[in-house]
Amino acid sequence: MTTKKALIIGVSGQDGSYLAKLLLEKGYKVTGASRDAMLSSFSNLSHLGILGEVELHSVSLNDFRSVLQVLKKCQPDEVYNLAGQSSVGLSFEMPVETFESISVGVLNLLEAIRFLEKPTRIYNASSSECFGNTEGHPATESTPFRPRSPYAVAKSAAFWQVANHREAYGMHACSGLLFNHESPLRPDRFVTRKIVKTACRIAAGKVKKLRLGNLSVLRDWGWAPEYVEAMWLMLQQDDADDYIIATGQTYSLQEFVAEAFNRLGMDWHDHVEHNPDLIRPTDIQLSLANPAKAERQLGWKAHHAMRDVVRIMIEEELAAQQ
């Protein structure tokens, strides 16, 4: 069997790095792309010990030439698009950049693949944010979108662009509607990492307070290394389709915080301060998922829920801080 080739765009991020690791383990030749491959430290790839095994290129999805060039060079069987401005909070500050990196980006990628007329399969990272408030009913793949941030609106447009290229041109193109998925590779600006990191520093006596916005929001938190497996599975199916990837269990941010402080033998009430500046202009209150289709069709199921995620993140954080 010939070696399969995969191209991961956005390889420097959390998901890109875990996916690179998974695909290397499966025997793929993995090429990674990032906006500036010379400047990026790829600390996540280093952290996973695979920096030397991934061929790296500079690609900006907004630039059609750069997309075409990397596709021609690597001739990938599978393309994973994990690039894009990924913070909901930041999208209110940078709405244009958010749209350009997410929506124009995926359009360029789809068009470049179409132009090259190769049977390249493509996975696009969609998001649970597309659903907005799920209002009591867990979201399925047929739940209408109700996006609540410039990030979510851009991801919704990208979702439909992928669906349209699949239907219009018969491309094997899939969107993964991934609910929140965390790991020690999450950057500090994401709330889960911020909680874990700060709680560990409080436990070590280095800082006193953790400042957070709205604690009542409800989310479905999963374990990122498991989620990248679902991405790969989607591209191994005969027919391209879209899937929700989630644990199916929803907790409040307060429960996440309490679990983290508990694990460190502390009471969160003593250390958490409310900071209204961190509240978003519009936010999702409730995010509920029904991942039954992924289990039925991909045989994929989450094995880690919120408490496992907190436990592993804390273990790694403590090891790193020592």
């Binding site: 941030s149 410039p150 239907e167 219009a168």
Partner: protein, 361 residues
């Protein structure tokens, strides 16, 4: 005090009707137009006022939805009470050929306007109308389509418009702006662009009648649409900005016809009885003399078709008092009449030895 309105896409069908409507209401009307190497102001020629005139009410500004700074400059200068975003790459078929440009103008263009309002601190002053579209329903999830029907866009045009729909709602909710979407079903008129199917039909049949053209080539004859008259629809755009609270509305006639029906009705207006023969791409329409005047050309098929659209305008009826004044038949008659006039003019000019452009696509 006199209200000020700014219309993007003022040189288009809706822009022209809306400008005329707002001027009649006593508004000071400002229009945004793109720089083009050919004149593109035919539709608003009758509204134009010389810059040297006193008490001028209609102003044009050069600008472009793909250029943030031009939008901010014009918004700063005009400080409009109402902003109507009618500008777009509005052709579904062209969006498959120019998807990125469509996203830039139709999706990001809207965001740039909303940002201009915010940046200039006009959140409380400027009311914003976004021209949304029945194309959002695409592969329809229920019939008829209303405000709560889930979207299923089927073209790069519809995907870009989906972004604009939701970003308008997001800015309304996040920044407390008076911003709303009109989900307008197809609306036509003699001012419709010549490459849109209705106008293409009336123009071609008029020219065929006068022997300026041989045959009309169309794509999907079975496509069914809900067609109304643009003149009625722009009034709803204005009404949506006059409510106590912003809300999104479906505007439609509630009546559906196929492209083939449209051809038949337009032909009858010209005294032509079209006789259809054949199926699928072999289907042809013949005149009484047995000459083929309508044929299918698969080039006009779209990679993903929207087969049927039918709107339910109940909410607009109830809350805006929506009652369209112009019937489908009257609209077709008017379009045929105007295109026949233009064809007669061309024929006259040609007969006297002057050049007439065919303006093929």
């Amino acid at each position: 005090m006199k209200k000020k309105a700014l219309i993007t896409g003022v040189t288009g069908q809706d822009g022209a009707y809306l400008a005329e409507f707002l001027l009649a209401k006593g508004y000071e009307v400002h229009g945004l137009k793109r720089r083009t190497s050919l004149f593109n102001t035919d539709r608003i020629d009758h509204l134009y006022q010389d810059p040297h005139e006193e008490d001028k009410k209609f102003f044009l500004h050069h600008g472009d939805l793909t250029d943030s700074s031009s939008l901010i400059h014009i918004m700063e200068k005009v400080q409009p009470d109402e902003l109507y975003n009618l500008a777009a790459q509005s052709h579904v078929a062209v969006s498959f050929e120019e998807p990125e440009y469509t996203a830039n103008s139709d999706a990001l263009g809207t965001l740039r306007l909303l940002e201009a309002i915010r940046i200039l601190g006009l959140n409380k002053k400027t009311r914003f109308y976004q021209a949304s579209t029945s194309e959002l329903f695409g592969l329809v999830q229920e019939t008829p389509q209303k405000e709560t029907t889930p979207f299923y866009p089927r073209s790069p045009y519809a995907c870009a418009k989906l972004y604009s729909y939701w970003i308008t709602i997001n800015y309304r909710e996040a920044y407390d702006m008076y911003a709303c979407n009109g989900i307008l079903f197809n609306h036509e008129s003699p001012l419709r662009g010549e490459t849109f199917v209705t106008r293409k039909i009336t123009r071609a049949l008029a020219r065929i009648k006068l022997q300026l053209q041989d045959c009309l080539y169309l794509g999907n004859l079975n496509a069914r649409r809900d067609w109304g008259h643009a003149k009625d629809y722009v009034e709803m755009q204005w009404l949506m900005l006059q409510q106590d609270a912003p809300q999104d509305f479906v505007i439609a006639s509630g009546e559906q016809h196929s492209v083939r029906d449209f051809v038949d009705m337009a032909a009858v207006e010209l005294g032509i009885q079209v006789k259809w023969q054949g199926k699928g791409i072999e289907e042809k329409g013949y005149n009484e003399a047995g000459k083929c005047i309508v044929a299918v050309d698969p080039r006009y098929f779209r990679p993903t078709e929207v087969e049927t659209l039918l709107g339910d305008p109940s909410l607009a009826k109830e809350k805006l008092g929506w009652t369209p004044k112009i019937t489908f038949k009257e609209m077709v008659e008017e379009m045929v009449r105007e295109d026949l006039k233009a064809a007669e003019r061309d024929e006259l000019v040609k007969r006297h030895g002057y050049t007439v452009y065919d303006y093929n696509e």
